[in-house]
């Protein structure tokens, strides 16, 4: 699996793709694959603040709930409403199915996140466990 290098990754399996001070956030291919059939995505409202490393929502498969951790801090400007009725989009293409768009409050936070290559190495180790 090749992870796109136009974005950064967390060890909690979220991705964040920045464009200046705005960014979109989603979960990785590895995350959707581990979860299985995604049936519910619970996301914050437009205007709410999310904080790096803190829970901002959750994603549920038939069998489990997983928290979503913010890869960066910011204010939510847009929520992918499509996922409310079609959460399976995340399974179909996790790297295209963004969940939130935010205005980054501290773009430097992204510097400490994993590159595509480092994330790929990280998940390979996870999978081997």
């Amino acid at each position: 699996m090749a992870y796109p290098d136009d974005r950064k990754y967390t060890k909690e399996h979220e991705w964040v793709m920045a464009n200046g001070t705005s960014a979109s956030i989603g979960i990785t291919q590895y995350a959707q694959d581990s979860l299985g059939d995604i049936v519910f995505v619970d996301l914050p409202k437009v205007g709410s603040d999310i904080a790096v490393g803190k829970t901002f929502g959750s994603v549920e498969s038939v069998k489990a709930v997983s928290d979503l951790f913010a890869p960066a801090s910011g204010t939510v400007t847009e929520v992918n409403e499509e996922l409310a009725t079609a959460p399976e989009k995340v399974n179909q293409d996790a790297h295209a199915a963004w969940m939130l768009k935010i205005t980054l409050s501290n773009p430097n936070e992204l510097n400490s996140l994993l590159s595509a290559a480092d994330y790929e190495k990280f998940v390979a180790e996870e999978a081997a466990k």
């Binding site: 299985g36 519910f40 619970d42 038939v62 069998k63 709930v65």
Partner: protein, 379 residues
């Protein structure tokens, strides 16, 4: 002095290598390394649907088996189980439970009458040792041999409306004559004298077969079952689908709907509990508790708001006060609703009662509905 380190061993069924080869996602379940789903063939939802509309195949070898045989086997079974085993004909099985003296659950079991004085209890994986010790220790006064056969069998469940077509291809047994909760012995995949039960844990018609746990034999049968099922779109199914299927059918799961702190009346399993039997462990406490009625009862909820109830979540009344808890909650793949089994006071259990389930700090609307959530269509 030397200390022998004993790491907790994870147990494997004889089909473990096959599950891994099939790319199953494996999980630790009650100390067992078991397939939760097979993503390569579609995963949990596809497996659930296969069982509801076609046929699915499960490795349930982690289940345990206790045999009671001897002149007083019936008396022993009657003493340790709540249903009335004296009503069983040879070849018949019944749902029952082992109870503590206070009327709560050691485990739920299927009692099979193998012969005149010969019974087989099929028990849960997580309670194997506890159940065996309980049965052995509480039947010492009877002239009856208690044997743990748990490791002797590979148990394969073949479930769904097309299960009978699949099994018929592999056996000479007369399946048409085999009613639900009866079993027979027949040749299966060339193996003689295989126990074939018309039992299961999915809410569908289906069979459970018990073959030798020898790895080669187990693999041969598993592969033959999958092969025979191809024309019916049979899928190998994991514990994930097993759980959602049993939940739709409101079949209890030990540690969830039943446990050592929940009694028979609370669990609503009255019709399997024969207090008219003169004696069994738990009977007196249950008779004493009967007039007052249970303080909590098992009810079915359907989520009417956006949210999924999960095991352990709190149940709230409309004002937001905590009144109970979820024992099992999940999306129901066939019903396409979010459902839950919950314990609430009887006053909140009437059909149509509006309640809430606390999901991540928020009350999400739910309604008490009739159970089982799913009932298979009568043919």
């Amino acid at each position: 002095m030397s200390v022998v380190e004993s790491a907790p061993t994870i147990r494997k069924t004889a089909l473990n290598a096959i599950h891994r080869k099939m790319g199953a996602k494996m999980v630790a379940f009650n100390g067992w390394d078991m397939p939760v789903e097979y993503p390569a063939t579609g995963g949990l939802v596809a497996e659930h649907m296969a069982v509801r509309t076609g046929v699915g195949i499960f490795d349930v070898s982690h289940m345990g088996d206790i045999r009671l045989a001897g002149p007083q086997a019936l008396a022993a079974v009657q003493h340790v189980s709540m249903n009335d085993a004296s009503r069983l004909a040879i070849g018949q099985a019944q749902y029952s439970a082992l109870l503590y003296p206070q009327g709560t659950f050691v485990d739920d079991v299927i009692v099979h009458r193998l012969g005149d004085d010969d019974y087989l209890l099929v028990i849960n994986a997580g309670t194997r040792e506890k159940d065996f010790a309980w049965v052995r220790d509480n039947t010492q006064q009877f002239d009856c041999r208690v044997t743990d056969l748990s490791d002797d069998y590979t148990q394969i469940a073949i479930q769904g409306p097309k299960a009978h077509l699949l099994v018929a291809k592999l056996t000479d047994a007369n399946l048409a004559a085999l009613k639900g909760y009866w079993f027979t012995h027949g040749t299966v995949c060339g193996l003689k004298n295989v126990l074939i039960g018309r039992t299961g844990y999915t809410g569908e018609d289906g069979f459970e077969i018990y073959v030798s746990s020898d790895e080669a034999t187990s693999a041969m049968v598993w592969n033959a079952v999958l092969e025979a099922g191809k024309e019916y779109g049979a899928l190998a199914c994991g514990l994930g689908a097993r759980n959602t299927l049993r939940l739709e059918a409101k079949m209890p799961l030990y540690g969830h709907e039943i446990s050592d702190t929940i009694n028979v009346w609370e669990a609503g399993l009255d019709r399997y509990c024969k207090v008219e039997k003169p004696e069994f462990i738990g009977r007196e406490a249950l008779l004493q508790a009967k007039p007052a009625g249970p303080s909590k009862v098992l009810a079915g909820l359907e989520m009417t708001g956006r949210g999924i109830a999960r095991d352990g979540y709190r149940v709230l009344d409309q004002a937001g006060a905590g009144i109970g808890y979820v024992t099992s909650g999940s999306p129901a793949p066939f019903l396409k609703k979010n459902i839950a089994l919950v314990y609430v006071p009887p006053a909140f259990a009437a059909l149509g009662t509006a309640l809430q389930v606390e999901v991540r700090g928020q009350g999400v609307a739910a309604q008490v509905v009739a159970t089982p959530f799913y009932k298979r269509p009568k043919i």
